[in-house]
């Protein structure tokens, strides 16, 4: 389960945002949308723990998969410097991904910032569904993979906080407006907590199936250490469940956001 993936390409998508294509037969053949890999960014002690990064898509025939990430700290900085041919120690695919829609269903994805990445994979794997994508970014300079989303979705709405690209304001505004007129069969969301809460609440109120992809600092990444939890409803009570194994994707109605 612990694989050395080899860098096939490293592409800068925007300032501080990179796409890595990695070759690994096992990961590329076993992955599903919403799953992630857990990466040892460098040998040794400098970034001690692995870093979780979502799988952006796979290319079965070439045995490769892509990840896209924003440089946040030491680990992602190191990843951004990888070169073709470098080996990367990746564990994956990990976690429970999205429930794929049935053919003919209408779905929405609502993503913010780095939360858009797992949603692209979902869209690409949702053949036969009618797909609307709502993506939010802080500003136009951070808008990435627009072409890919355009291709993968039937409808694409982009908004930026500062209005420098697409609609101005939070991505939840066009999404909520959409919900006024339409009733999608499934909604999937990933991004900052405030955004996900709005999306989840709107869907829960309307009884729309909604899945959220959660983020939390991780230890083992495989479910053994109970470090990466979020609150999940259990009948009248709740329990901390593991984002790395029971998630990262949960049913929105089950999650209690902190």
């Amino acid at each position: 389960m612990n694989f050395n993936a080899v860098v096939v390409k490293n592409e800068k998508l925007a300032e501080n945002i990179y796409l890595l294509r990695l070759k690994s037969e096992k990961i590329s053949h076993n992955a599903a949308p919403g799953q992630f890999v857990n990466i040892k960014c460098c040998d040794g002690l400098d970034t001690y723990l692995r870093r979780p990064v979502s799988i952006l898509r796979t290319h079965g025939p070439e045995n490769t998969f892509d990840i896209a990430f924003m440089v946040r700290g030491k680990g992602t900085r190191i990843l951004s410097c990888l070169k073709e041919g470098d080996a990367v120690d990746c564990i994956g695919p990990l976690g429970r991904g999205f429930t794929l829609p049935e053919k003919g269903e209408r779905i929405c994805v609502v993503g913010g910032g780095i939360g858009i990445f797992p949603l692209l994979y979902l869209l690409e794997k949702s053949a036969g569904a009618y797909k609307a994508a709502f993506l939010g970014f802080r500003s136009g300079g951070l808008v990435v993979l627009g072409k890919d989303f355009e291709k993968a979705a039937d409808q694409l709405i982009i908004s930026t906080d500062d209005g420098s690209f697409g609609e101005k304001g939070p991505v939840t505004t066009p999404f909520l407006k959409y919900l006024e007129k339409e009733r999608p069969d499934r909604v999937y969301t990933c991004g900052p907590a405030p955004m996900m809460i709005k999306v989840a609440d709107a869907c829960n109120e309307r009884g729309i199936f909604c899945e959220v992809s959660m983020e939390q600092r991780m230890g083992c990444g495989i479910g053994a250490c109970l470090v990466c939890v979020c609150r999940i409803k259990h009948n009248d009570d709740w329990a901390y469940e593991r984002i790395c194994r029971d998630g990262p994707v949960f049913r929105a109605e089950e999650v209690i956001f902190e």
């Binding site: 040892k40 002690l45 991780m218 230890g219 083992c220 250490c225 109970l226 470090v227 194994r245």
Partner: protein, 301 residues
């Protein structure tokens, strides 16, 4: 080459044990390697009633280490007996039940329940820094350790291991108290209380503010404590704290440990336990040790 280790009657096929709280109940790592290869497994810390644990974030990365503040999330000892022992027993490895209580009665009740269960040893966790009541309160004084240990000893039919906290002035006093009160073995170290602050948000990184430090950073402290304790008591010592490979494991054994536990390093390298066993064999070959137990305390001073 003889890799077996005998800890107060408890026979391990090799001296490498998975440390409590880092290995769950074995299910997850069983997807990576054959649990039959392990000397033993110390399961996630159990409490009498189920515990929810502390709010996230529960982990922070620090230089060569991590802080955790899980806070003993677990399904409770009854669910462990019912749901986890049957799975663990499929493997030919020692099962150590790690238990933590708020009161002496808690510890005794769990020891009773587990004495009737199909496990090999009980590890008294009197050293968890992540819970407010009990536990570390007992582990911070020799009297506290004596009280819990002697009470549990009376009802415990299994090998009794007392896991010591490094957050004390003199660890040898704690070990002696455990020995005197009937422990068959001591294991050390649990995590060291620490804290990390995000200077941009100006908030503690951990939801619980403070947490327990583990990983390579603590190794020199742990080796020193194992060295001191193994000179101070006659019962066997299980050493841990920052072990990442066979060299580290051998270092603890030279310092006096009869066996070792590995925790945090498994987050980075899920095969660390297996690789450590192999590496110990290589060390024995290179240095002419026939029995792994001959490494214990073989420090030249």
């Amino acid at each position: 080459m003889d890799l077996t280790v005998n800890i107060a009657g408890l026979k391990l096929k090799n001296p490498v044990i998975a440390a409590s709280g880092t290995f769950g109940f074995g299910r997850e790592f069983s997807e990576f390697f054959d649990l039959n290869l392990l000397g033993g497994i110390s399961v996630k810390g159990l409490t009498l009633a189920p515990r929810k644990g502390n709010p996230p974030p529960r982990i922070a990365e620090t230089p060569a280490g991590i802080l955790n503040s899980v806070g003993l999330q677990n399904p409770g000892v009854h669910a462990f007996v019912r749901d986890e022992i049957p799975f663990l027993r499929k493997f030919d490895t020692c099962i150590i039940a790690n238990v933590a209580g708020n009161t002496v009665e808690d510890y005794c009740r769990m020891a009773e329940i587990l004495s009737d269960a199909d496990i090999d040893a009980i590890e008294l966790n009197v050293s968890c820094p992540n819970v407010k009541e009990g536990c570390l309160i007992f582990g911070s004084t020799a009297e506290g350790i004596s009280k819990v240990t002697s009470a549990v000893r009376k009802v415990c039919k299994k090998t009794l291991i007392v896991k010591l906290s490094p957050n004390v002035t003199d660890i040898t006093e704690m070990a002696k108290a455990a020995e005197y009160s009937g422990a068959d073995c001591v294991s050390l170290i649990n995590t060291i209380l620490g804290m990390a602050i995000d200077i941009n948000s100006r908030r503690p990184v951990l939801g619980n503010v403070v947490g327990g430090l583990s990983g390579p950073a603590v190794k020199p402290i742990a080796v020193r404590m194992v060295y001191q304790v193994s000179k101070a008591v006659k019962i066997p010592v299980i050493g841990m704290g920052g072990i990442s490979n066979a060299d580290d494991a051998v270092e603890f054994m030279l310092a006096g440990a009869s066996a070792v536990m590995i925790g945090t390093a498994g987050f980075v390298n899920p095969y660390v336990w297996i690789e450590t066993i192999e590496g110990i064999k290589q060390y024995m070959e290179k240095h002419g040790f026939q029995k792994v137990s001959d490494i214990t305390g073989a420090l030249i001073e």
